[in-house]
Every structure is written in structure tokens, then in C-alpha cells.
Symmetry: C2
DNA sequence: ACAAAAGTGTTCGCAATACACCCATGG
DNA sequence: CCATGGGTGTATTGCGAACACTTTTGT
């Protein structure tokens, strides 16, 4: 009883004020030359959680990223060579930590590239749907999720944090209210450090207190 | 390229003041004679959403229930005859509407029976895990979900509604605050009808205004 | 001096919480 | 008349929302 299935890895980051998704250009049929979410077949004896780590690495060069299950898609016609079920995962990464590492290790993907989530072409298979599901989940869980801090460098400014909230929610927020709320939550640590290399007033940097954050949601 | 997988249907209801899950007794190996969440193989040319309707019906006799995807489980050792991926779905049903219909149509399940969610035996495969995931999801989404009303009869008392919240959250709530909040939400319609057949003061019945509810979450 | 973004307080209304007693009904 | 659950109000506190100007820095 053979059972083939794939995993796909929706990898998101935040850069230049917008959410971006990592796409790979396929070098293999079907959908050769199309952009797709990184993904491939799970080996017969391989745990799915291992497979998704291996495959995200092979497709994009990124290691040790935390992937969470998003959905299973199994449309009879989603794959031209016969029904192939896929389990989609989602990961959030810090742009600064990964920007120099993004490069496929396999040859079934030709290149990997970041696309703004609002600037994504028509993708292979049902991958546009996977992206849609991922963004929806991000938005739904935002108020009790660590997601914003997985997208930012360790030290960040409040404006960066606000931009993330705004990109995920798709609406703009009031600066003063936003800062008051973040302050009240009590898990942001104000540092005695400031932004560098900007041609205007440098903003203060902050860190998350992971202990306090975890306690709040325990 | 053959691709076998199953779907499992976590079906929950509310009765006698507690959440209950519908389990089936297997009449087929592996796990013959074990209790399990209703489920079976998806046909080769069958859409997964169709399969889950068909299979929930065959296993339990219940038709036209709304199933939502919960998770995919694919442990290499979850099935003794080789790795078989399963996609778990969840449905909520009204006890009054289904109590006389629960009966397997197939012969690979011997019987179907309601179990209190805190009184569930060790189940076949990884089905205890599926139950755990379902209850977690129910709890997480409770504040913006229609779930409580899918579990109750069309006309219900505020005490019943409160009991559902309490079962899902696993904590008791203050009666006055609960009623004030439900009133404020604005989608409950007070009826001029009362409970019957109780040996104490009969409680007023309520209905949900689905239009108003839908508007709030649009 | 100008451009660009940082940073900062108050008011108002509503929602969440804590808390205890009387009422209606059936047996 | 008793047992059982039904039903009700107030005070406090904290959060969400609306709203605009001054400060700092680099060029």
C-alpha cells in the first residue's frame, strides 16, 4: 500500500515595510518554470515533521526554522499527474538572519526569491490558496501570537513592530494607541540603544521579554 | 502513483451538561474491537470534502453536518500496516437532532456511541490526539465562533449556553456577568417561551439572530 | 532651514470583573 | 414549606478609540 504525499512550506518574512513570501522557481515538470511555494515529496519512512525541515532546507537553504501545520489540500485535480495530497506548513523568519542564505540546494528548484505578498504571480498547483490560508491564519491569531517578534530582528523599533501589525491586519493603526497598548502588555523591554544609519532622529530599540510573554499565555 | 489516505471525523455535541464525542467501535483490523473516531479511506477519484461527508454518514448515520478541517496526521507508525496519512475534520451537532439517527451504515463499524470528552478510553491509532486537538481549537476560537449555537437546540436557555462555555473553557463563569455580556453582544433574541418539564422555575428561552451574528464577524 | 520620523497625554465610553440575594415553580 | 435553579444591579477598574503637536537628527 503505497502512500505518496508532499509537504509545502510557506515561509514569510518582513522587509522594507512589507510582508514577503519566499517562492521557488520550479525546474521540474509539472509546472516547470513556474513559481511555487517550496515543497516536495515526503520519503516513505520519513516523519512528516522531519520531511518538512529537510525539504524547506533543500528548497531554500534555510535551516532550523520553526514550521507549523497550516492545512492539508487534496483536490483530485490539483496535481496533473494524479491526485497528490499536500500538507502545507508555515514558518516566520527574520529577514536579517536569512537574507544571505537563501539558495536552493537541490536542482529541482532553479532559484528562490522573496515576493511581496501583494505582488505574487500565479503559482503552481493550488499554492496561491496556501498563501491565502497562511495570511488568514496569521491575522486571526495575531492578538495572541508571538508572530510579530519572529519576523523582526532581536532588537527592533516600535515603528517596525507597528508596521508588522499593520501589514498583517491590512489597516493602519494609531501610533499613540499602539505604543500605549504595547507598553501595557508588559513584555517589551526598553533598551538604552538606538537605531543607527538613519538620516533622521534615531528610534529607541526594544526587545521582547520571552519569559513574561510566555507567562501571559500559559 | 497510488495515494491512499483516510479522513477522520471528530463529532462533538452537548448533552447532560457536558461535551460528548461520537466514537465508533471498529469491526475490522487493525484495532478491531477498539473505539475510534469515525473515519475511513478516501476513494481514488473522490474529493476529500465529499469523502468526509460520505464517511461520516456511513460510520454514524449522520447526514448534512458541517465539517471543518482540523489537522493532518502522518506518523510513520500510526498505522500498523504502513504509513497512512489521515486528515482529521471536526463537526458540531445538536444532540436533539441526531440522537435517534446515530447508527453505523457500514459493517466495518459495529456501533456508534457518545462518550463524555473526559471519559474517553484509549482509542485506536492516534485518535486521542485528534480529540485533544479538536478541543483545543474549540477553546481557542470560542470568543469569535458560532460553535456554542451549533451545539444547542434552536431554542435554549441562558444556563445551557453558559454550561457550554464552561465545558469548553474548563472553568466556571459568573452568572450575572455572563448574562450581561451575552446581552451586550446583541445577537440573542429573547423569546416569550419557557422551558417545560422541569420541577423548578422554568427558564426563558432564547434564539440566536444569525443575521446579526454574521454581521458582527463580517 | 528643511525633511523625516520619533515621541508624547487626555478624554470618553464600554467591557470585564467582583460580588449576594430574592423569586418562581413543582413536588 | 422546601429544594432547585432562575433571574437581577452596582461599583470599580482597565482597555480601546479618537485626536495633534513638539522634538530630534542628518543633510
Amino acid at each position: 500500500m503505497l502512500s505518496f504525499f508532499t509537504v509545502d512550506c510557506l515561509i514569510l518574512t518582513f522587509h522594507e515595510g512589507q510582508l514577503k513570501v519566499l517562492l521557488t522557481e520550479r525546474n521540474e515538470y509539472p509546472y516547470k518554470d513556474w513559481w511555487a511555494i517550496p515543497g516536495y515529496f515526503v520519503d516513505k519512512e520519513e516523519e512528516m515533521e522531519e520531511a518538512v525541515k529537510r525539504i524547506s532546507y533543500e528548497n531554500t537553504g534555510l535551516k532550523d526554522i520553526y514550521l507549523e501545520q497550516l492545512a492539508a489540500l487534496a483536490g483530485v485535480k490539483r496535481h496533473p499527474e494524479g491526485r497528490i495530497l499536500t500538507v502545507a506548513y508555515m514558518a516566520l523568519v527574520r529577514y536579517e538572519e536569512v537574507k544571505n542564505k537563501v539558495k536552493p540546494i537541490t536542482n529541482y528548484m532553479r532559484q528562490a526569491k522573496w515576493f511581496g505578498v501583494n505582488d505574487v504571480p500565479e503559482l503552481a498547483f493550488d499554492h496561491n490558496e496556501i498563501l491565502r490560508l497562511g495570511l488568514k491564519k496569521l491575522k486571526t491569531n495575531l492578538s495572541f501570537s508571538f508572530a510579530p517578534f519572529e519576523l523582526l530582528p532581536e532588537k527592533f523599533t516600535l515603528t517596525q513592530l507597528q508596521q508588522i501589525y499593520e501589514s498583517i491586519l491590512g489597516e493602519s493603526l494609531d501610533k499613540r494607541n499602539f505604543r500605549k497598548k504595547m507598553g501595557n502588555l508588559g513584555y517589551l523591554k526598553e533598551l538604552d540603544e538606538y537605531q543607527t544609519g538613519v538620516s533622521y532622529r534615531a528610534a529607541r530599540l526594544y526587545k521582547v521579554d520571552k519569559r513574561k510573554f510566555a507567562k501571559l499565555f500559559a
